[in-house]
Structures are given as structure tokens and as C-alpha cells.
Symmetry: C2
Subunit: 308 residues, 2 copies
């Protein structure tokens, strides 16, 4: 089955303690599509300016991404610049120029309206809600959000949350959204807002899946050369949603496996600037990291845990 | 098989944002023994003052801990006071009164010298080395250490490291000891110093086992009521070493299972002050948390991860 993503397509400039890059292809929908397309046909809804480069269109097309929903408007493409500090975890935004993205109004092409798997990347909750309204019979809707919307648009966000099946969120955002320091207590508060599934991203510490009352904890793949974390969260979401769309059914086991797939893909993303590493990798490379993650998680039952 | 632990027995005073306790039973060897004794006979080497309370002796005795190696010296027992900040991760030491511990000279009773499983808790590396020298044919020696020794006694520490099989250490200490920010690169540097096994504790983010070139990542048990983290690391070590001594063989599978056992036990420790929660729990309670941790780790192989 296909997967629909609505988000940003942007040009990112990034500085790390080791290197820098200017105006490279970025944006949530870009990272998402680059990897979801390994698993399922991707339908993309986003907006770019008339300065958007042909070879970037070409890259997405070669990935098999359906671009009928990619609007081109007069003006410049969304630009963002960020700088990572020494620890590679904290970053500061140098600038955000929304440009054509400021008036983004996601309109789904007719053929997208039958989408069953939908990912609402980190855009305003009102826009996310409008997308949900356009999809006829979604099977699984997942969304991202961020502190800007949690504190700035809490009511709109809660309205959207009440309509989704899953929320993909950072651990610090769980605390902000729930008002609870303990993430397990916080997760239950958020589940009561709507989504029965939470996927909590913890960067180098991996991710936690909370599906109803079942927990799964997946480590991050042991990356030894962290180059640029930009896009890792959207790559993670792309792996998860692509895998689920390929499977076609939301089960606890598929969600668990989807988190492993997502972690494998996110680990490639951070090994290069922009989508550079994602351009290089093959299905075999991905399978190899999935198997290594399964080995990181492997532990066998014992006949007798305690002599008692 | 029995397990030998050499460390501290102390009286701890602890303040958290929620509660406080004065002069409660603590110390690395205490926490360790309280839980290792669920799995194997424990031989304890430590020193206390003549103020040490009879009911604390009684508690350890009832746990089946062999106290022939517990020295009593004229003077006061080691006292420590710490205060946890709002996030319950950072803590400040209010005071450390070594008292009789200042002149601690670990002397093994004759019958302890045949110990096969040895844990050197966080004491000076020279003392740890002296213990190793007294054990005839150890099968598995693990040690703890801390930033104080890493920066203060690097040569003595390296001498001791060259004689142990395993190091149990925090993630920040991996960076300090190896001089490498990436923990996987850092771990290899430390392995070259001696121990082929590293157990890296990450608090709420779980623990990583590195055994030769095999990695295992174990989540922390989802604790919803974190009360007092004091002793969690020593409780973790006690669970691991107790389990390994019960099994009698160091295999990759036993180490993996031992980390799960250790995580289960550490989760009880932080739910109360001092050894209060550890006094209450039964073998059934422990088994139940082990099974929940196994479910947190559970993910099944897929026939086809990618349609390619």
C-alpha cells in the first residue's frame, strides 16, 4: 500500500564542529520520502519555490516518489540554517526563512485521497487537521509535532491529536505536552488525548514504542561517525511508515519491527549531510543494520532465573 | 558458586525533592550483597565502626551473606550525605566522612581466597589490586570505578584494569577514561587496557553490554515512581554478578541475561530509600520484572524486511 506524507521540502544550511554545507536538499517530507520509498509507493504533498533545483526533483522521482502533490509557487523555497554544538545534540537555529512555505495550503490530488497510511510531518496542527479531513478512509494516521506548536497552538494541536492513531515525538516533548516529568506517566496522559500509539525518540538512546499498554524499547544503531543529525527524526518516521504500509496491517509485532527498521534508517541519515548517505544505501545495507539491531536486542529465556 | 564483594558499608543521608532520610544503611557492598544473595552465597569484605547497628548486621545475615570478612574497627562507620536535584539525575555531595574506611585494608579470610566470582566495588584501585592478588584462581573478576580515581590515580587504575575481566562503568566515565566522546570507540580503547567485557550504565536509558565485539542493549525497567537513585549501580552489579555466579559459566548468553537480571533489580532499588525496597521483594517479584524486560526487548524476525 502507498503512504502519504505532508510536510516540508527545503534547502538546509548546516554547520557542525567538523564541517558545513550550504543549501542542501532537506525538509521533513524529503527525508521521509527518501527512505519510505524503499518499502512502499510514496505520495508527497509539499510546496517549493520556483528556484527549486531540477536535480532534486529528479532524485525524488528516481526514488519512485509521486510528486503530483508537490506544489510550485512563485518565490523561494523554504530555507533553514542551523549550527550544532560540540556535543552534536544541542543546536541553534541561525535563521528560518519560510518563503513559499508561509502560505502552504496542503491540497491532496484526487488520487491521494484514498491513502490508507498517512504521515503528518511537523507542520502547523491546523494544516495537519485539514489533511486528515481530505483523506477518505485512513487506516493509520501518524503525526509529528514540536515545542513551537505545543506551547503556541495547544488547542489546535489537541484537536488534531484526537484524530490520529500515532504520535512520533521526542522525550522532552512528551514532558512538555503532558506536563509530567516521568515519560511513562506522560505517555498515558497523551494517549488519553487520542493516539493509542506513541513513538518516543531519544536520539542516541534509541526509541520507545508504547502501543496501548505494551512497551518496546529499541536501541539506536551504534553509529561511530556522527556527521549531521538533521533529518534523523523524519528518516526514522519514513522507515517506520514505509514498513507499515508495506505490511498493510497495524499489529503490535509490525510496530515493533517498524521501529527497528526506522532505527536502522535513521543511523544512515546521520552519517552524512543532507540526504547524501540515503542516496548511497541499498536494500542490502539496510537489511544488514536491521540484523545488527536484532542482535543488539537478542536475549534468551532462562529455565531458572533464580534459585529460590 | 559463591561471589566475593569488596566495597563499602556505610550510613547514608539522602535528600530528594520529595523526602529525606538520615543515616540509613548504605554502601556499595551492602546494596550489592542485598540482591546478589538471591542467586548465590555472598562473601563480603568491608569495614565498619563500633557504632554499626546490630539490626543492620542482622539484615545481612538473614540474607545469607557471609560476614567473616566484615572488619569492625574502633571509631565511626563511613558516612555520606547527598542531595538530589529536581531532575533526580544530578546530585551534590553534602559531605563524605570516611571515618574507619580511611584506613580500610581488605584482608580476605582464608576461605574467601578460593572465590571464583569477584566484584571489586568502587574503592581505590590499589586496594582493588590487593584483593585480586589474594584470590587464588578467579574465574571472573569485575570492577567498578569513578571519576575520582580516573583523574586522580590513572596509573594505579590502569594496573588494576589490566587484571580484570569486566568493567562496570557509567557512560560519562567511558568518555573520561578513554578520552573519546563516542562510547563505542571509547569502549574499544578501554578493552585494550584489559577487560574484554564492558557494562556501560546509562541510568534511565538502560545499559549496554560490550563483550568482545558483541553488543547488547538493555532498557531500564519503566519505573514510574523514582524515589532515590542511591545504590542503583551497586544493586545492578549485585544482580549481574549473583546471576553469573549462579550460572557458573561466563558465556555471551549468560552475560546478556545477567544484564536483564541486573536491570530488574536496580529498578526496585530506586523505588525506596536505602535498602528498604530490596528488603521487601521476593523471587517472584524479581522474576516478574525480568519477564517484563524480556517483553520490552521482544521483536521477531521478518521473512521479508524490504520489498526489493
Amino acid at each position: 500500500m502507498s503512504v502519504l506524507v505532508v510536510g516540508s521540502v527545503a534547502y538546509d544550511s548546516v554547520e557542525t564542529p567538523f564541517a558545513k554545507i550550504d543549501e542542501a536538499l532537506g525538509g521533513s517530507a524529503t527525508f521521509f520520502s527518501s527512505v519510505a520509498s524503499f518499502f512502499a509507493p510514496v505520495h508527497l504533498v509539499a510546496v517549493v519555490g520556483d528556484d527549486f533545483r531540477r536535480d532534486d526533483i529528479q532524485f525524488l522521482r528516481e526514488k519512485g516518489v509521486d510528486l503530483d502533490g508537490l506544489q510550485t509557487e512563485p518565490g523561494k523555497t523554504f530555507r533553514w540554517k542551523g549550527k550544532y554544538l560540540e556535543n552534536m545534540n544541542d543546536r541553534e537555529t541561525i535563521y528560518t526563512h519560510l518563503n513559499v512555505f508561509e502560505k502552504f495550503n496542503p491540497v491532496l490530488p484526487e488520487k491521494y485521497k484514498d491513502s490508507e497510511f498517512v504521515f503528518l510531518a511537523n507542520i502547523g496542527p491546523e494544516l495537519q487537521y485539514n489533511v486528515i479531513e481530505q483523506v477518505k478512509q485512513p487506516k493509520f494516521v501518524a503525526m509529528d509535532t514540536m515545542n513551537f506548536w505545543i506551547t503556541g497552538s495547544p488547542d489546535a494541536l489537541k484537536k488534531t491529536l484526537s484524530r490520529v492513531d500515532a504520535l512520533v515525538i521526542n522525550d522532552s516533548e512528551v514532558q512538555l505536552l503532558s506536563g509530567e516529568n516521568n515519560i511513562y506517566k506522560g505517555a498515558r496522559i497523551i494517549q488519553e488525548m487520542g493516539p493509542e500509539t506513541l513513538i518516543i525518540k531519544k536520539g542516541e538512546h534509541g526509541a520507545i514504542l508504547i502501543h496501548k499498554d505494551s512497551y518496546f524499547s529499541c536501541p539506536a544503531y551504534p553509529v561511530e561517525n556522527l556527521y549531521d543529525p538533521t533529518g534523523a527524526g523524519d528518516t526514522f518516521a519514513g522507515g517506520l511508515m514505509g514498513y507499515l504500509a508495506m505490511k498493510g496491517e497495524i499489529t503490535n509485532d509490525n510496530l515493533r519491527r517498524g521501529i527497528v527498521v526506522a532505527s536502522a534508517l535513521a543511523s544512515f541519515c546521520v552519517e552524512g549531510f543532507s540526504v547524501n548517505r540515503l542516496k548511497e544505501i541499498s536494500a542490502e545495507n539496510i537489511k544488514s543494520r536491521i540484523q545488527k539491531l536484532l542482535d543488539l536486542l537478542r536475549v534468551d529465556q532462562d529455565d531458572e532465573w533464580i534459585q529460590a
